[in-house]
């Protein structure tokens, strides 16, 4: 799958790189969906011997390929919500020198990054590579509710039903972009919905 080039934007918008193997006694790789391909790209037997992979397939079928890399530990989770307690536990038990690699959707990478920051890893020391869906995790600035996998702009808040437009303004702490009511001054006047980046 070709990699999507995000247009340059404001400073608040996260930018993603390309994973590379780094020095460290322990490697934690967390990915969802097509993020598996970023792990497959850098996997070597030596690296995998020290790697714990946590993978959320989101309907894709990369899990067997990842398992075949023979990592030190492999966990497949049905969703992020189901995997987060494991992620927190692994971070809690980890020692300095742990290398964290995140790949896949922005929502997955952002949420793990937020957990990792709480565990004491500086966000700048976390490697990320975007793969797959460009849908975003959005927070409604009005009701504070989170809507996952938003692919259109504007969209309707899944909590308070306001019509929201998608901003590039991002919170690392909540791992979400901010969404603001688009028809506050003219209720009902909502521009036509289009896909993100269209």
């Amino acid at each position: 799958m070709p990699k999507f080039e995000f247009p340059t934007s404001i400073l608040s918008r996260p930018v993603y790189g390309v994973l590379e193997a780094r020095a460290g006694h322990q490697h934690l790789m967390i990915a969802d969906a097509e993020g598996a391909e970023a792990i497959l790209d850098i996997a070597t037997p030596d690296l995998m011997a020290k790697t714990h992979i946590i993978y959320i397939p989101k309907g894709t079928d990369f899990a067997d390929e990842l398992r075949a890399l023979n990592p030190a530990q492999f966990y497949q989770g049905p969703s992020y919500a189901a995997s987060v307690s494991r992620i927190q536990r692994v971070l809690q038990d980890a020692a300095m020198g742990l290398q964290l690699y995140l790949a896949g959707t922005e929502g997955l990478m952002g949420q793990v990054q937020s957990e990792a920051m709480k565990a004491g890893i500086p966000h700048t020391a976390i490697q990320t590579e975007h793969r797959g869906s460009t849908a975003r995790r959005m927070q409604c600035v009005h009701c504070k509710g989170i809507t996952e996998d938003v692919a259109t702009d504007p969209f309707q808040c899944s909590h308070c039903n306001l019509n929201l437009f998608v901003r590039d303004h991002y919170s690392r702490r909540i791992a979400a972009y901010q969404a603001v009511c688009i028809d506050a001054e003219d209720p009902g006047y909502v521009p036509a919905q289009k896909g993100l980046y269209e």
Partner: protein, 320 residues
Amino acid sequence: MSGAEKITVRVTEVTSLNELVTRFRFERLDGALLPTFSGGAHTVVEMKDGDVTRLNPYSLMSDPFDQTAYTISVRRDDEGRGGSLFLHNSVRVGDEMVISNPVNLFSLDLRAKKHLMIAGGIGITPFLAQIKQLDRAHGNWELHYACRSVALGSYVDYLTSTHPNDVNVYYDDQEQAIDLENLYSGQPLGTHVYVCGPKGMINWVRGKAAELGWPREAIHYEEFLAPQPGKPFEVKLAVSNKVIQVGEQESLLEAMERSGVDAPYLCRGGACGMCETRVIDYTGNFIHRDHWLDDEEHSSGEKIMPCVSRFEGKTLVLDR
């Protein structure tokens, strides 16, 4: 006026700790309280030694919340340019001195889960203030302190009696050394390492951490470079429209100040970046000694840090 705000103080105690190290206590002349500071901060002490005015940074070692006095500990350097010798030989209880407001280039990262401190010799001083700050906040820290010998182990007794479980002392003359690799191994996620000491120790601590995959952001170090003497040289200051001579024993920054040019500075030790100056023209070679500019900037011939760096050659024109 450049540098941090100035405070006029009186020397209220001079205490010899051992053969090399003396502690000085400063209280405000006007009787008011001093500003609080954060552990790791330094003050720039003005020393009027005959015709020469020296401004040297020293780490504050007193309790950051004690506003009645600041203390510094100074190691005598017989080979240096004379700042420490002046303090040791000429400063007496009752003297008036001028020091700067505290400036911190070595602060604790309070997001850290644990603070791992590594000190060599007189590099212990910033940690004394940081430990007081962390104790008040019930912080998680441990100290590994290497000194030459029992006789030269400044504050070892104080540290080991107040914090017997958190302080580890290593004596060079008993061939004790910090087992760095073991020390790093198994440190919990969120540990930050702080090192203050000789250059070799700083490089060792930083290098080993990088090798073991510690993030750059979790490594903190402080090394004040003293300006080194060198061949005299001439500088044209384009903005001030002056041509000045930099003497063998003074820094470029000091020569500018002597000529009445108000050049910016903060640390005077090549670390903070405040005195960065643009080079307009030059014929010759720079002797860069700072650790503010990167290698590329050093070789570009476009910038100089006048607090520690020098020049050898025919012409140097600066944007100052």
